[in-house]
């Protein structure tokens, strides 16, 4: 690729940062050209980000309907799944799944809530409710 042809389409998911791309300069040497990104990249990243945001919104609806605990919302809001939340909090996966329901969540002790809060990077007060 020639340096002039490096895409500068403004991939919004880069948040204004530029990424390094290798291209040929006028002398035929390979150099790094900062790029604002491709449209295709943006579509793909956005798909992944949107899928995670949808999961968080679905969890929020379930919490409001009384079908899930705020922990489920926070798990998705932090882009985690049960496996990662289990590893981060130190609970077994089957216990995490139980705590995702309102009844299991209600039975958590203060120190257990603290472990989840620490894993998710929120305070225990925030963890008890939706933001």
């Amino acid at each position: 690729m020639e340096a002039d042809n490096v895409p500068q389409e403004g991939n919004a998911t880069l948040g204004g940062q530029r990424k390094a791309v290798y291209a040929r300069d006028a002398n035929g040497k390979l150099v790094i050209v900062p790029s604002r990104g491709w449209e295709v990249e943006e579509i793909v990243t956005r798909q992944a980000v949107d899928a995670m945001a949808e999961q968080a919104q679905a969890a929020r609806a379930r919490v409001l309907a009384g079908l899930a605990s705020p922990l489920e919302y926070w798990m998705h809001a932090r882009r985690m799944d049960v496996a990662l939340l289990a590893q981060s909090s130190g609970f077994w996966q089957w216990r995490v799944r139980r705590h995702l329901g309102p009844h299991g969540f209600a039975r958590l002790s203060a120190s257990q809530l603290g472990r989840y809060a620490q894993a998710l990077g929120v305070s225990t007060a925030e963890l008890r409710k939706l933001p």
């Binding site: 998911t13 948040g15 940062q17 390094a20 990243t45 985690m80 049960v82 990662l84 590893q87 981060s88």
Partner: protein, 231 residues
């Protein structure tokens, strides 16, 4: 400390090149990547990460750092830690000695990353070259300019859990015996890379690319192939 930060396309190759340049070697990202024969390809349809089959296009984590051993006789020391406190104390001690230290971190917990890029990806590499108050001075090669990160955030990123958890891993060169790259080392690296890319298995190297391409061609048109990540 004056640190010569250079923008790079990938984290590990960029970290290695910037770190070696700091130690007086003329090293570019592409040369580091090539010397380690790090170019590779593997399509692993039977391993799924968030519902997607794995496509690997580079060698395993740390392969580029280790790949400097043969061509440069460069010996790196790797240390990982059980506790955040121990990891941070060791990092501070090394910085106080005037060293530039490489770290393995999660991307998700680094606040300077754009929000849309913050996934739970645990094998990001960056260099720490100093500390200013509570902020670490960081040369993250995939960023154009050096960045800063508060100590609590960096500790969280270093001790993130999950697949390929970094466990606070830090690394630095202990000694580098050769100060220049010999042409023979480059030829050897290219030959090794050719061997990898021509491996006689259908899922790796050039054959792996053809295999994945044929799978892609057979996908249904439109959005029919979009799969949601598993809960």
């Amino acid at each position: 400390m004056n640190f010569d930060h250079r923008h790079a396309a990938h984290c590990e190759s960029g970290v290695v090149a910037n770190l070696l340049r700091h130690h007086g070697l003329e090293m570019s990202e592409s040369l580091a990547f090539g010397l380690a024969s790090a170019l590779s390809f593997a399509y692993l349809p039977f391993i799924k990460v968030s519902g997607q089959p794995v496509v690997a296009y580079r060698a395993l984590p740390r392969a580029i750092i280790r790949g400097m051993k043969a061509p440069l006789d460069a010996h790196f020391r790797f240390e990982s830690f059980r506790s955040e406190a121990a990891g941070q104390a060791r990092l501070d001690a090394l910085l106080a000695e005037g060293r530039v230290v490489g770290l393995q971190t999660s991307v998700y917990w680094l606040p300077y990353f754009p929000p849309d890029m913050r996934f739970h990806f645990n094998v990001h590499n960056l260099l720490v070259y100093g500390k200013d108050g509570d902020d670490y001075l960081i040369s993250d090669p995939v960023f154009e300019h050096p960045v800063r990160c508060a100590s609590a955030d960096l500790a969280r990123a270093r001790f993130a859990k999950g697949v390929l958890a970094p466990k606070g891993l830090l690394y630095y060169p202990q000694r580098i015996e050769r100060q220049s790259v010999q042409p023979a080392a480059v030829r050897q690296a290219i030959a090794r890379n050719c061997r990898h890319m021509l491996a006689p298995v259908p899922i790796a190297g050039v054959r792996g690319m053809r295999f994945l391409a044929s799978r892609l061609e057979r996908l249904p048109a439109g959005a029919g192939h979009v799969r949601r990540p598993a809960d």
